[in-house]
Amino acid sequence: MAEIMFYLLDVDLTNRTSTKVDVTHDVKIYCAGRGLANKLIWDLVPQGADLLGPQQILHLGVGPLTGLLGGNISVNHISPLTGWVNRAYSGGTLGPEMLDAGYNCGILFKGKADTPVYLYVYDDNVEIRDASDLWGLTVTKTNAKLQDCLFKETGEIFSMATIGPAGENLVRYANVVVDGFHSASKRGPGATMGSKNLKAVVVRGTKGRTYADHQKVWELHKLMTMNAENQYLSKGSRLDGITAWTASHYRNPSTLEDFSYGQAMPGIKNNHTLWVPECDNYNYKDFLMRYKLWSHACPGCIRPCYLSSFKHLPEPLGAVVCKHLYDNSGGCSLNWMLKTYEEQSVVAAALEELGMDGEEVGGIVAWAMDLYEHSIITQADLDGIDLKWGDLDALLELMKKIAHREGRAPNALADGFWRAEKVFGDESIWYAYEVHGCAMDTQEMRTGTNRFRYPSNHTGARKGEMRDMSESLTQCHFLRSQMVNAFGSWEEAVRLFINAACGWNMTIDDVWDMNWRYYYFNRAISHREGFNVPLGSADILPIRAYTETVTDKYDTKYMVDEPYWRSTEWPDFMEKECKLNRDGSLPRSELVRLGLDFVIPVLDPLGVIGP
């Protein structure tokens, strides 16, 4: 079985040129997607470069399993919010189209265009086109206009990634929206895209996949799809963010039926409590009956997770189309004391129009409301908005002002927690519920394991990175249980698929080595950009996690025991789960064994490499 070649589309926006680069050698070492992006960022971005400057790169990564096990793309860059390497990903059809167009390692953007542009890819035809008429439009309008124009030109429907007004105005948590409704949100890929004057990327591919053994790949996929357990999961669409989100108010596993969202807990009233009587207004069966239209899946995925929602509301709101997901708008409802699904729907739709991360907006706006209540910011700071808990009109106005950076406080909020704290003063810090300057409004850390996974994360605040090669492959991690059902273990499934797709001959050990190479390298880039220097400085929880008790519906109280957490829980987690030294430093012997010894001279002076 012949090994396949891997190609990257290298786009220089400054000179408006593009080339197709063979990256097969690097892919065999680092894998594609985020693994390859590690290498690109390490080599191409200078240490300490301006976060929104032309020296930054943006990589829309795909891998050998994109479009086969979910349609994920990974969006890779240095985050303008944290300053460290980012981890954002999105579903949709963009990744599979890239593979079909012949770019099975994605698209790399370098430099900065002098005027707004969009990238047009139709198989081998690559053009950088003028986007002046699209600049300033919201996400839906951009998509509609671009789709219309391209359909008239080619007669084809393109897959597209766009940014909204928030990305154009460099809001540090702006997102990249794929196909108009999937989004790569976390920690500001939209701002990086906006800083390059890149409004959209449109791709259409007709060449098909370049698997080493199509027959073998298809047999494996059939084995997974036809698995009896997976058949049940596909039909029931049990992966339902709304169900989990609603049920988690009650901390009662039986209401989650057969699906558990870990120990997720949405914040309520800026994370000051775990339950208020308004929680009872949120009922997922009510949601399904009144809002849900149908389920939708990415190409190749047997687990539809996208719930289209629609509701026609009284004027002036009109018809609202949105996607309700746990970490899409779960932090923008009771965290702002909005009392019904109606109001949450409007917020979710507005987020999609403006192109901002729902989780980050949920946390930072709730913080602003808290500060306003305690007179730390005033109505004048907010450009005349009377920001009371649960006032929908005021909240929509504030979101608009943040996206357009109008007014003192909205402009500060658009830069994230850490920069805004400097504007609002030390008094505001206690009210901020954040880790690494990122909001923590959908995953309460006082109640469960989130207090380990979030602070340990070198990409900001998100969990599940240690054993996550999914985004290097790139394979949707929502499909992991299906892979386990069919093949016994995730790594065995990956081994079988990757060998069939790429023509490689990997063993289980090779899969794990590639996984840990990805993780250590990813962490090394963040260390280089200032994460955890000096050691331990970033591995902290917000002050409120140690000082404020929260109570759930059943009057159980939660708070983190700081001395125990620091002395025992945290070092144990570092050692056993993250495979790091107990103080959180990178293990030198593993770096050498995995061929990452070139990072040692750069990181040694920073003191982040242990024995």
């Binding site: 919201t138 839906t140 509609a144 298809w218 698995n227 058949q231 389920s295």
Partner: protein, 220 residues
């Protein structure tokens, strides 16, 4: 005794009752060989995963390529995205616009009454220079992709050898049972018109209009 009961299950005497469990789901027996049959599509169930297109291109061309498939999953945003599978519905004689448009004599694209599905005679078909059949089909169900074939292709219900063994792969793989291989004459399994499909979608999202979905009264 046991042997006799097994024979009864597999015999053709009670075809409709013999529902069997295959990979955990109910599968109805294939329509009889001399029955006009088609792929019945339940659009409301489709999630747009496109596995049917992968199965089709694997069966016909040995590659995974959604653009080399007889079935397509169109994903219009109306304004919410919805997967709509489209394939040849094996039209009745008076509706076969593709056959009527074919300029060759005898017709290169036609409905084979022996095997009961559409076939394209690749020896006589004019290929890329003509494609009148593709233009004539309202559903655009006749496909063409120069990367895999110089002739157009159309759904043959996976009877590639044209022996009469119709067994569509797309129906077998569909994880949500949106596709079914059914008798044309059987109760309510009729082909659905464009208006019927539009009606189904409109009922769900009414009263949305093109302008109303992005807050016309709010200037973002």
């Amino acid at each position: 005794m046991a042997e006799r009961s097994i024979n009864r299950l597999t015999s053709t005497e009670h075809p409709v009752k013999a529902v069997e469990q295959v990979y955990g789901r109910e599968v109805y027996p294939l329509p009889g060989k001399k029955v006009a049959a088609f792929i019945y599509i339940d659009e409301a169930r489709c999630t747009g995963c496109a596995l049917c297109t992968y199965a089709c291109s694997m069966k016909h061309f040995g590659v995974i390529n959604k653009d080399a498939s007889n079935i397509q999953v169109r994903q219009p945003q109306i304004p919410v995205i919805k997967g709509i599978p489209v394939t040849c519905s094996q039209c009745q004689v008076d509706e076969r616009e593709c056959e009527k448009a074919c300029p060759t004599t005898p017709k290169s694209i036609k409905y084979d009454m022996k095997t009961m599905h559409m076939v394209i005679n690749k020896a006589t078909c004019l290929g890329a220079s003509c494609l009148l059949c593709q233009k004539a089909c309202n559903a655009k169900a006749v496909r063409f992709n120069a990367a895999v074939s110089d002739k157009p292709f159309v759904c043959d219900l996976c009877d590639i050898e044209n022996t009469g063994n119709r067994d569509p792969e797309c129906v077998k793989i569909c994880p949500v049972s949106a596709l079914n291989f059914r008798d044309k004459g059987a109760h309510h399994w009729h082909r659905r018109s464009i208006m019927e499909k539009a009606n189904m979608l409109a009922k769900r999202i009414y009263p949305i209009t093109k302008e109303s979905f992005c807050f016309p009264d709010r200037d973002w």
